[in-house]
Symmetry: C3
Subunit: 146 residues, 3 copies
Amino acid sequence: MPGPLKITTPVDGETYSRITQFYAHQMQLLDERAAEEWADGFTEDGVFAQNVKPEPWTGRAVIAERMRAGMDRLATKDVQRRHWFGMVATERQDDETVLTRYYAMVYETPRGGRATTYLSTTGEDVLVLQDGQWRVKHRLITHDGT
Amino acid sequence: MPGPLKITTPVDGETYSRITQFYAHQMQLLDERAAEEWADGFTEDGVFAQNVKPEPWTGRAVIAERMRAGMDRLATKDVQRRHWFGMVATERQDDETVLTRYYAMVYETPRGGRATTYLSTTGEDVLVLQDGQWRVKHRLITHDGT
Amino acid sequence: MPGPLKITTPVDGETYSRITQFYAHQMQLLDERAAEEWADGFTEDGVFAQNVKPEPWTGRAVIAERMRAGMDRLATKDVQRRHWFGMVATERQDDETVLTRYYAMVYETPRGGRATTYLSTTGEDVLVLQDGQWRVKHRLITHDGT
């Protein structure tokens, strides 16, 4: 994790609101366990890396499949997870490419229980604009405490 | 809870910032226990529903009265609650109507104690623009773990 | 803490996205323990006050020095803190001055451990625009539970 972005050209307000809404929608799909729709937020050749995994997931089809398997395992625990992204900083690379760095918290509520913090992470994305829709070309999630 | 919005027309950046600031201001009023000012964020015929309540509160006057009663009960516990909205996705219906779906977390700090997570929920609003001000026509809050 | 801002002129979407990104970047610098770069987000005569401190830190140089000392003390605990700002309400004073009121949560993850909530606060800033960059002229952080 190379640290905060060197910001010289943050995105404009219009783009910022679109990226924010993309993140909101994509994480809501994840938390509803819609693995394939969530994976559609990656480019076809997209990469999803986490510092706690031995290797990245590469390609939308693989990303969908691996996430579906993770969701199936999670289904055996009767909990609701919620992924929050926040503190999103951006740096525009070109008209169709934006770098972001942000925090992502995961909360977990067991059936009949109280919400707890589950995980604190930092995310670093390369986003690209395709047919008017932002997608993730590369995402690196770095878990705190590791 | 029907799941994530089908998004075809997210609101523009200007509207997104206004809605975000409306949510911030309305929840700050709630957490300062300004029940009537908070209720002013609903339309006169507004509805506030929660999946854990047997029936919705209907009409701004009723909403204010019920929230005031809830705040009076809470005052016997010496805690500070903070309502955070985040991950706000939007779908524009028409010039004066926007649907939103978002996450809402409530944190609680006891006097002299440490902050804890209190509640994780999902919100679904129908917002309408009245005299330049966004207000809630219908809000459904669904609690996680229920 | 005088309570929620009296909002008559919230900032436009473009300004809102710049302030949001300024907050994101400044807090990412803090959490990477870049005290001097974080302090650069204050004006040279900036003030950083917290209700739990006997007196405010005045001037960017003092703010940097005191934060560096705090970070050095924190380094003896093997934890990662994350500062989240949210629920940002704004009121424009003039072309180069904006008042904000927001919530700030701090999360903490120990090495090898699970994320926890550490602190819930409310922030009130006077922001000024200098050479195209927003900076803090005055920040008051009020801790919940105090």
